[in-house]
């Protein structure tokens, strides 16, 4: 069963929890990443996620497999693509394991590795009309993108 997906419809963490639940797994840790209304001191109105689709899903599947092997856990993850408003869910991870240590560790591993390895990009639309590509390696956290109407 493939449990690592890119989706263009709303991410539902409850659905992921249901997928990983089982009577022998007593702990489920989840992480939900939402679109924030600010980034590096700038007011954010909305954003757009894009991806190198086939690789992103393959890499997510590899990460899930690694976590499941390392912690005897069961993991599901979904990442949203396209246009998102503030408050919408961008990514959700659910990790179930017999005990909570493993569930937390597996959940944390998946979101950290996803951020480190999965080819997804984020374009932010700011309140001042400008648009930026989020770049964690850039000084201000983003670099200007084409299509902005402001600064």
């Amino acid at each position: 069963m493939n449990v690592a997906h890119l989706v263009t419809t709303p991410v539902d963490a409850t659905r992921l929890v249901a997928r990983v639940s089982a009577p022998e797994r007593g702990g489920i840790a989840t992480f939900i990443g939402l679109v924030r209304n600010h980034h590096a001191g700038r007011a954010v109105l909305r954003l757009e996620y894009s991806a190198y689709g086939p690789m992103a899903e393959a890499e997510m599947a590899r990460i899930v497999e690694e976590a499941e092997r390392k912690w005897t856990a069961r993991v599901a993850v979904e990442h949203r693509l396209g246009a998102l408003d503030v408050g919408e869910v961008a990514v959700a991870v659910a990790a179930a394991a017999p005990h909570r240590d493993e569930a937390f560790a597996a959940c944390r591993y998946v979101i950290e590795e996803l951020k480190r390895r999965v080819p997804v990009w984020k374009k932010e639309h700011y309140a001042d009309g400008s648009v930026g590509w989020v770049d964690p390696t850039a000084p201000g956290g983003s670099v200007p993108a084409a299509g902005g109407t402001g600064a």
Partner: protein, 95 residues
């Protein structure tokens, strides 16, 4: 003479070329999401990056960008084979 070593998909045989995929601000700056490049024997990812940097907007590319060969992360010294898919990835921002 970049013109000599560039060949778009329509004129390059798949057997001797590599598909280069661009994303995010790399695609924006180079105004394309894909180039099919002729491959010389021994060409590495770094060789392809050097050539792409000569194109208009190509200076958006760092000398050692994050990259993937056939959908798996790879280093800039990775050798390319005909038919490979090379992706040049701007700094990741998922999650």
């Amino acid at each position: 003479m970049p013109g000599d070593i560039w060949a778009m998909s329509s004129t390059t045989s798949a057997a001797a070329s590599v598909s280069v995929l661009l994303f995010g601000r790399y695609a924006e700056a180079l105004r394309s999401e894909r180039f099919d490049l002729a491959l010389a024997p021994g060409d590495t990812v770094a060789d392809v990056v050097v050539r792409l940097r000569q194109l208009p907007g190509g200076d958006v590319l760092p000398l050692r960008p994050l990259c993937a060969r056939n959908q798996a992360h790879c280093g800039p010294e990775t050798a390319l084979a005909p038919g490979d898919e090379l992706a040049l990835l701007p700094p990741l921002a998922g999650g």
